[in-house]
Subunit: 201 residues, 2 copies
DNA sequence: AATAAAATATACCGATTGGTATAATTTATG
DNA sequence: CATAAATTATACCAATCGGTATATTTTATT
């Protein structure tokens, strides 16, 4: 039914997603979007109701880019502990993977939307809950498989690990210094090894 | 010489500092500033060269608010380990102290300025370097006092501690959940106790 | 190839943006 | 208390903001 428009919609989202991610909602104007896409306002508003809907789609696209890469890295790993270490390794190369879209969309849009756009903030919160739940499930899987101590609180550790990663990514992006994320992943590796894993000796 | 204007300048900065912190640079308009201060554009531009200079002053004011509170909490503590624990306790009540100005200015302006305003980003970077150096000095003081292991890397730990705190504050602000910062400070307390301190037993 | 439908471009809208020249008003100084 | 200087208010500027009605072009259908 709508062949061309669907492709154009996707093209717009892909093209403007890094702009919203870098500049935020009010820092991104319609002229940014027309200039980047080569389209006119008429074309853009034929594909989206308003600027806010473009920002929603851009955020979701940026998150999907990252999530798909994580899924690819974890595709063949079936043990919880292995999934955790693979996830940590992904974040070591996170910057390389996301510098094209302007850094972590969760931090960028989380900060941008807070105090500004409740609908967008709620979307960020949902994504955080989802990603945190992935980590939580990996811990629980490890517990079911007998490789992670059964008495540790999976929710608490998932939240702490996620917060640590976000903090290190913020610092790496702000200071332009990859040692923050690399050192933090070393630290979390060690945390899992010493506090979560059951020592087999 | 300039009695009234200096007071007005301070009044403007104090009044608009939370607005810039919450809304960011492009999210804050001159009409926000005139409305909040009750002054006209003429008055504001009589005290500042342009909008960017107001944003600079606002960021520095917000940082000072936090730094002064930290200094007050650490005033009477002369041992490095004690200073570290007092700093961590400050961050447990950080949200309470900074919710009025709209959260952590380092995260807010760090994200806002990145990809947008290099001059402002450099100011954020300078503040981060300064605060990190404070933590580093506390660790070195502990080493000099014989309470912290001499072989640990003060710079590495200062960076990791700072990144962890920023991450937890971002999560607490974004998810409106204080458990992130509280749990993270528990974790860092434990980190200092188990990895940094020399056990006296 | 003709026609209907979908998609894009053009041209415009009122409102707001950051900023400024100038007039009116305070404030300090003699 | 008069006057000069500093400060604030008013009125305006061009440019840009997000958004839309309509005209034009492109695409799908017959």
């Amino acid at each position: 039914m709508k062949g061309k428009a669907a492709l154009t919609t996707d093209f717009i989202v892909e093209t403007v997603a890094p702009i919203f991610n870098k500049n935020g909602y009010y820092g991104t104007s319609l002229s940014h979007l027309t200039k980047a896409t080569g389209l006119t306002k008429g074309a853009i508003y034929g594909n989206f109701k308003n600027k806010e809907d473009i920002a929603f789609a851009a955020f979701e696209f940026n998150v999907d880019v990252v999530v798909e890469k994580i899924k690819a890295d974890l595709a063949d790993i079936t043990d919880g502990v292995g999934q955790l270490y693979a996830l940590f390794n992904f974040y070591r190369k996170y910057r390389m993977h996301t510098i094209a879209i302007g850094g972590c969309p969760i931090i960028n849009i989380g900060v941008d939307a807070n105090h500004q756009n409740d609908n967008l903030l709620h979307k960020v919160q949902e994504v955080i809950e989802r990603l945190q739940y992935y980590i939580q499930k990996m811990i629980v899987l490890g517990q079911d498989q007998g490789t992670i101590k059964s008495d540790i609180n999976a929710v608490t550790y998932a939240k702490r690990i996620f917060a640590s990663i976000e903090g290190a990514m913020f610092m790496t992006a702000t200071m332009n210094d990859e040692s923050y994320i690399n050192d933090m992943m070393d630290h979390i590796d060690n945390l899992v090894k010493t506090e979560l894993e059951i020592n087999s000796h």
